[in-house]
């Protein structure tokens, strides 16, 4: 199927990754179509972040292919980077620059036209315009996270890769983020996120996947799905390999 990779925002085939003698991902298959939010659940250390790092060209897989926005993460890394917005555990901000300067810097790196205006617009979209001239250092953890979200969507990427986007945010910011993501997928973009919050996963996402034993599984019907979700967030179940 030559069209498959282009039709989907993310297409992963036979992906393998291990660190030394610690296996992480093993023959992982995953497809995320355009216009969908996919949430990944899984216990700590099952490789959710590793998967996101591979999709964002930061980590080299041992084997298999990963195609993001129709581009191969290994041989077209630079083009992939133009098409993805990444929210990771660290917020990529410089403490001694203001929010506006931080975003303007990234806008310039992405070679966007009128970078300062673009940065300001993005801050305004996320309700951060009053914080534009405050240094990142002076902001609370939650506000920094919101600036990091602004940084991730700044260049209007087609695919968003978010590692636990809800952590550290207050209730208002979480619903704001939900609106942002809904708008994102409504306009054709795709979102892949990880989370530990089963409630957020099932209410935000079009599909909820579970990462365990190096593979992603999508429980078919809702009945067994919620059971699997409960098991995935319980570390005992994941570690004993009951989901394998």
């Amino acid at each position: 199927m030559p069209g498959e990779a282009v039709d989907n925002a993310i297409a992963v085939r036979g992906l393998e990754k291990s660190y030394g003698d610690t296996p992480v991902l093993w023959r992982l298959e995953l497809t995320v179509p355009w216009g969908e939010i996919v949430a990944l659940l899984g216990a700590n250390g099952v490789g959710k972040s590793t998967l996101l790092r591979i999709l964002s060209t930061q980590t080299r897989p041992d084997a298999g292919t990963a195609v993001v926005a129709g581009l191969d993460v290994r041989c077209q890394a630079s083009a992939v980077r133009r098409n993805i917005g990444v929210l990771a555990h660290s917020n990529f901000l410089y403490d001694d620059l203001t929010c506006l300067e931080n975003l303007t810097y990234y806008a310039r790196l992405f070679n966007l036209g009128n970078p300062q205006q673009r940065a300001m617009d993005t801050l305004t979209t996320l309700g951060l315009s009053s914080r534009a001239h405050q240094r990142a250092r002076s902001l609370s953890h939650g506000l920094q996270k919101r600036v990091a979200i602004a940084r991730a969507i700044l260049h209007r990427p087609r695919v968003l890769l978010m590692d636990e986007p809800e952590s550290g945010l207050d209730a208002g910011a979480i619903s704001g983020l939900r609106e942002t993501l809904k708008d994102w997928t409504a306009s054709g973009g795709a979102v892949m996120m990880t989370t530990h919050n089963a409630g957020i996963a099932s209410s935000w996402a079009d599909r909820v996947g579970i990462l365990a034993n190096g593979k992603v599984r999508f429980p078919d019907d809702n009945q067994s799905g919620s059971l699997d979700i409960a098991m995935a967030v319980s570390p005992i179940a994941a570690n004993s390999g009951m989901l394998g």
Binding site: Y19, G20, D21, T22, P23, W26, G214
Partner: protein, 235 residues
Amino acid sequence: MLQSVRQMNFKSGFLVLCGLMMVADLWLIFQVAPTDAVIGDVQRVFYFHVPLALLSFLAFFVVFVGSIIYLVKRSPAADRIAYSAAEVGVVFVSLALLTGIIWARPVWNTWWTFEPRLTTTLILWFIYAGYLMIGYAAPNRAKGAIYSAVIGIIGFIDVPIVYYSVVWWRSIHPAPVVGPMAETGSLEPVMLNILLVSMMTFLLLFIYLVMERASLRRSEDDFRAIRLALRRASP
């Protein structure tokens, strides 16, 4: 299984050959080679010093080529060969420095002088000691291999510049004490032949050591791969 037995036989044969060559070489150096008329018996250290020094240069050339291949192709074999050559090279260069000091005392009337070849050898020791250290200081094995390869390339292309900078520095600041035999010039034919035998012996020893070290490193990699497979089978 059969292949590994065959490999073992080959390596044992190589080891026996090395041992015989070494015995013959020692006999030639201490029994056959004439005593140097001016320097005396100490001159015999020359038959060890020259091969060790030249082979450490060869070792670091192997590191350089292996490092480039590793960075371009990420072939684990290139990393194993480069790393093993670096380890053996550091041992050889350390011995070359030691024998050099023993040689310098009677010949140059000083234990140490910042003569270009000596200085370059010393800098090589520092660079490749750093090469070995970075492999252990790195956060994981894969990164260690990359960092080592980078040092293996940067270090080697730096060597000619180090050498010429010291040569030119030397031409401005001549050595305070350099004896009349600083450059012995001609070598008696017997001495030259024994030197060649010695070179061959140490070349074989070098190849054997690199082979042995690379196969040990391969075993380490295999062990890791087996443990990975086992963990996958029963998480």
